[in-house]
């Protein structure tokens, strides 16, 4: 039997995956990372537990609900790999308990998503890029690692409606990165690789050249601007750019606006968790902010970032959903988790489930449960379930919401 599936391995949300279930278990079209999620879906699964003792699923849900109901300051965290439907429930729980809520976008690409949602920078869809974009710029993004099929499915390599002749004639690739990596390796003829000492300087170069002045990277930049004049361009900005800007997002957004006086230049964030953008959009819809929000204070502040809350010992309880902060945050931050009530909902055993007071196992989105996620460009994508598991995040969060 062949099953059509969507991979939730990254924000590309490739929806052309074919899973063969009978006889040999085969996954077609997914990249190595994506295929692994399907092939190894039974490995390392979490088990329900309370204070390290195995429990039933219902007992774990019950205990978690009690702890949340008794907590004075709850922080809800994670949610970047669960469906929109589950995210909405998690937001409701936070709302009902006047909790803090945050996800990894606060140290990942939340700022870029926010600028797109607020209409501060021109953005478009990946389908538009495939059909129309001529200049493809990866800036501080390394799709080979973060979203392996990004280039082959949406940007440089595929043919599109108005880009029929393929990458050699119909696309122009620019890779901007602090070091040569796998993505820049593809840059050969007819393409540019820039290794800037600072992103700010490179931005200045663009602005100066447009104003007809001399600049540090004048050779490369003038060449890129010449190409941008020939057709639509898109900038895929990744973590490298986010940190390279050193907080000065305005400078970059101004550049994008200025480039648009010159030609059509769009921006799409690239390289993050499957449904990070979905979380940003759901919270934005509800509160007008994309992350670091406090329902108690009805606002978003830098201090409400999950890691900052932990180090200042503000929450007494955390509800972590589909995230492994013990692995991703510095130890001096995550060690605070051991001092407070920690409830973790996750399909797999992680460092965080290991130190949690309550562990509630859930199903794997896209493998065992369907739902909706939001792709890196803001397009909603449907997931399918390949195997049955009705105890998904939605089921668990609904139960908790009923009881608090």
């Amino acid at each position: 039997m062949l099953i059509q599936a969507t991979c939730a391995g990254c924000a590309c949300l490739c929806d052309d995956i074919v899973v063969e279930k009978n006889g040999e278990f085969k996954v077609k079209n997914a990249c190595r990372r994506g295929a692994g999620i399907f092939l190894n879906y039974l490995e390392g699964r979490a088990k329900p537990s309370i204070n390290g003792e195995t429990s039933s699923l219902e007992e774990a849900i019950e205990r978690a609900s009690e702890i949340i109901a008794d907590s004075k300051k709850l922080a809800v965290y994670g949610m970047d790999t669960i469906t929109l439907e589950a995210q909405k429930l998690a937001i409701k729980i936070a709302e009902k308990t006047d909790a803090f809520i945050d996800d990894c976008s606060s140290f990942c690409l939340g700022n870029f998503v926010e600028a797109c949602l607020r209409g501060e920078i021109p953005t478009t869809t990946l389908d538009y890029v495939r059909d129309n974009a001529y200049v493809i710029i990866y800036w501080g993004a390394n799709p080979v690692h973060s979203s392996p099929r990004h280039m082959s499915r949406y940007s440089y390599f595929p043919r599109g409606k108005n880009r029929q002749r393929g990458y050699e004639e119909d696309r122009f690739l620019v890779v901007i990165d602090v070091r040569k990596d796998h993505t820049s390796k593809i840059v050969k003829k007819n393409e540019v690789f820039i290794e800037p000492e600072s992103d700010a300087e490179l931005i200045d170069s663009f602005v100066k050249i447009m104003e007809g002045k001399a600049a540090k990277y004048s050779g490369e930049v003038a060449g890129i601007l010449r190409e941008i004049k020939k057709g639509d361009a898109v900038v895929f900005g990744g973590l490298g750019l986010r940190y390279g800007l050193e907080g000065d997002f305005k400078k970059f957004y101004n550049l994008l606006r200025k480039l648009n006086e010159f030609s059509k230049v769009y921006f799409i964030p690239a390289g993050f968790h499957s449904n990070m953008r979905g979380f940003n959009e759901s919270l934005f819809e509800k509160t007008g902010y994309v992350n670091r929000y406090s329902f108690g204070e009805q606002t978003s502040r830098k201090e409400f970032e999950f890691s900052k809350l932990l180090t200042s010992s503000i929450p007494d309880t955390t509800l972590i959903i589909g995230s492994d902060p013990v692995n991703s945050l510095p130890f001096d931050v995550s060690m605070h988790l051991s001092k407070i009530n920690t409830i973790t909902i996750d399909p797999r055993r992680t460092f965080t489930t290991e130190i949690s007071d309550v562990v509630i196992p859930s199903s794997i989105s896209g493998v065992e449960n369907g739902g909706t996620m939001v792709r890196s460009d803001g397009v909603k994508i449907k997931l399918n379930s390949v195997f049955e598991n009705k105890f998904d995040d939605t089921y668990i969060l609904e139960r908790i919401l009923e009881r608090i």
Partner: protein
């Protein structure tokens, strides 16, 4: 890749013609171009005294065994399954413009390459432009592989 000379040195060098070639040197050449198999040199296998040479030859020819008939070798360990090779292949683009040519999975029966369980598989080299009489030296798949997972035998 072994050179014909390296192969030649390990052959019986008797020019006995049992393999169907006039000389051991020409046999060595054809082993590399895959027109002859090592097994065609009967004395090498039958006579005890060539045992050590035979072992060395088998080791030497191991990479050749992995290659498909177009001379395309995939190092699965390096492959990330990014599908750049699948999408850039000019044959795929013309035979399956709305599937592989547009960045998606194949909609034709027997593509040259496809991604299965996260790595590229060569499944129908008959379509590859490097194959057959009118072959051309296409390098599109290899050139766009970010991890050097694709090699061609003769390079």
């Amino acid at each position: 890749m072994p050179t014909p000379m390296e192969i030649f040195k390990l052959l019986p060098k008797t020019n006995c013609k049992i393999c169907g070639e006039q000389t051991c040197m020409s046999f060595a050449f054809k082993v590399i171009t895959r027109e002859r198999k090592l097994e065609d040199c009967k004395p090498l296998f039958d006579e005890e005294k060539y045992k050590k040479q035979l072992e060395e030859l088998i080791n030497l020819l191991e990479p050749l065994e992995k290659a498909t008939e177009t001379g395309l070798i995939v190092e699965e360990d390096l492959c990330t399954g990014c599908a750049n090779c699948v999408v850039v292949c000019p044959v795929h683009a013309s035979e399956d413009p709305y599937g592989m040519g547009s960045g998606k999975g194949p909609t034709i029966e027997n593509p040259i390459l496809l991604i299965e369980n996260g790595v590229v598989k060569v499944i129908n080299m008959l379509l590859c432009r490097r194959y057959g009489k009118e072959r051309i030296l296409c390098v599109a798949c290899r050139e766009n592989c970010p991890t050097d997972a694709i090699r061609f035998l003769e390079e």
